[in-house]
């Protein structure tokens, strides 16, 4: 069946988009034809990388039901909830309690001319989102607008059309537009989280949407599968599996049957994809020592990066693809080092404590999150590495052991594994400043090793 997503001209916008979506049973192919008139990038409203940011208060109104029938009203309630959850999830917006609202645009009108901005500035809302819904035999049209209340200005206006089952997707497209307008970054709404979950005692690789929705099992090795890593185009996963009795790296294209297995003698561990390329880094021990190498997507070793006896593991590419952070015990204890791909000595970046592992770069390349063990407590820390080494900042505390940090593509959030509250390993998410720690998803079994994808913008 064929559906069309059509985006009308927004009031404040000078862009014109035309979306067409062909939807199969499982696969949705987006066909896009758009004309985008270029204009200067506006000033970012929110700087996500500021760890001391205050959340920006945003009001989200009830959806106006244009025809007012039951299916439409219910669709509006669903859409509003998804919108609230989505914007709240970002970590930099504070969704205001509707009990404080002074006006009701669902009745008085949702467009620029009908908004009484002082009603919103008066309750402390810097931003306002209004929504409208038209429903006709399962087909839904959503009108969505983001306003700057202090400047009485429409920031983003979009109209989406699709099936009522696609409300979530349409709302997240709009959330992505909001992210882009506010932060200059397309945000998390089209991103995914790969992770490990137990299934009947085996560990398999799973993938969920950014907020933990719709978890799907990717592997069925019925073995121990670990360390999933996304390619930056989101099309490939590399992971480790014991399916053949020892740790090998599996390279898998998610849309086809293409792939490869890296099964050198010894262990093949901790793959990571180079940003923008289908090149991998991984820790291999075929030489008799665990060293970090670069590999092609077919698994052929092209370059050796480390040459130091001892453990060298968990390579992670810097966002510019020119450096690798990794864990090494060359100094006697596991610590985090950074090395340039084109040579030079490795630079140690952790000096506090006797156990620091599992580095993860922030998307701006200025910080590294990692796991530190101090006094038998396993916690997540973050350290600034740009313009000299900063002081480690502890992000988790007094709540079980916490491992496997991975930044969201906008840098605002960190997903991690925690054994808080009962000792069972679960996925959690927090802001990159360590606030708002909460469960990412509820799923049977034990979850671990989340890896947030890098893809940030919805496909056409």
């Amino acid at each position: 069946m064929k559906i069309r997503l059509k985006k009308k001209e927004g009031k404040g916008g000078d862009q014109q988009w035309l979306y067409g979506i062909y939807s199969g049973c499982l696969v949705v192919i987006f066909i896009l034809c758009f004309v985008l008139s270029l204009h200067a990038k506006e000033v970012d409203y929110i700087n996500i990388s500021n760890p001391f940011l205050n959340k920006t208060p945003i009001a989200i109104t009830k959806f106006k039901a244009f025809n007012g029938h039951g299916a439409e009203v219910n669709g509006g309630i669903t859409a509003q909830q998804i919108l609230k959850d989505g914007l709240d999830f970002t970590g930099y917006l504070k969704v205001l309690n509707p009990a404080a609202f002074l006006s009701n645009p669902a009745q008085t009108g949702i467009d620029l001319g009908n908004i009484i901005f002082k009603d919103w500035t008066g309750i402390g809302a810097d931003l306002l989102v209004t929504g409208g819904i038209e429903e006709n035999q399962g087909q839904v049209t959503l009108q969505l607008r983001l306003f700057d209340t202090f400047n009485s200005k429409l920031l983003v206006g979009r109209v989406y059309t699709g099936k009522s089952s696609q409300i979530r997707q349409m709302i997240h497209r709009f959330c992505s537009e909001i992210s882009h307008k506010l932060t200059g970054n397309w945000g998390i709404f089209n991103s995914k989280v790969a992770f490990v979950s137990t299934v009947n005692g085996n560990k398999e690789i799973f993938v969920s949407e950014f907020d933990g929705h719709n978890p799907k099992q990717i592997t069925t090795h019925k073995s121990i599968s670990l360390s999933p890593a996304w390619s930056s185009d989101g099309q490939w996963l590399a992971y480790v599996s014991y399916a053949r009795g020892k740790p090998d790296i599996y390279i898998k294209n998610l849309k086809g049957n293409r792939g490869a297995i890296v099964n050198n003698k010894g262990s093949n561990l901790s793959p990571d994809w180079m940003p923008g390329k289908l090149t991998l880094a991984a820790a291999l021990s075929f030489s008799g020592n665990q060293e970090i190498y670069l590999l092609t997507k077919k698994g052929e070793v092209t370059k050796r990066i480390t040459k130091t006896w001892g453990v060298n593991v968990s390579p992670r590419f810097s966002p510019d693809g020119r450096k690798i952070a990794f864990t090494s015990n060359r100094g006697g204890t596991p610590q985090i080092y950074i090395k340039n791909l084109d040579g030079g000595a490795a630079r140690r970046i952790t000096f506090t404590g006797r156990y620091n592992t599992s580095p993860a770069w922030s998307p701006d390349g200025k910080k590294i999150a990692y796991v530190g063990i101090e006094k038998n407590a396993v916690n997540i820390f973050v350290i600034t590495i740009a313009s000299g080494l900063g002081t480690p900042v502890q992000l988790t505390m007094d709540q079980g052991s916490n491992e496997d940090p991975s930044f969201s593509p906008d840098g605002g959030l960190i997903v991690f594994t925690s054994k808080r509250g009962g000792g069972v390993s679960r996925l959690f998410v927090m802001t990159s400043a360590g606030t708002d720690q909460r469960r990412l998803l509820t799923l049977g079994g034990k979850q671990s090793q989340p890896y947030w994808s890098k893809s940030t913008r919805f496909e056409n």
Partner: protein, 184 residues
Amino acid sequence: MNKKMWMNLIVAMLVLGLFMTVSCAKKTIVSDGTTIEDQEKAKAKALAEQERIKSQELRDQMAKEKESKIVTAQTRFMNENILFVFDSFQLSPTAKALLKEKAEWLSENSKYSVTIEGHCDENGTTEYNIALGERRALAVKKYLKNLGIAGYRLTTVSFGEEKPLDTGNTEAAYQKNRRAQFVL
């Protein structure tokens, strides 16, 4: 002299007669005597058989004991793990003593090849623990090689913290889990 000759003849006749008598008597006894010999033979045979059974039993028992000793040695070989302290792959004196015992077993049982599994407790981080477990397995392999065990008989694999022996979260459990384990 003639008279004496007669006397001698009579004596000879008497002796002969006596002999005949004895001979006749013996004839009846002979058949009885044969039975006794058979009995004694049978007795001796039974005795020998008993001895044979006894020594067979002894041999069987010895074989059994030897076999159970082998089984015990093999069980011990497989179940006595080499233990490590946290974040370490150094072999303790206890570990070395145990490895010498294992090397002896491996020398005596040259038909076996073994896999040395390296394991960790759950306290470290997943990827580092697989690397550490591999170092533990390699440390054990190196020590056994130095004791003369051929390298091709020793395969290593690390499971990191994926296969704890004891799933508890006490130090006692962690200690059990930080191990190198032998699998035939």
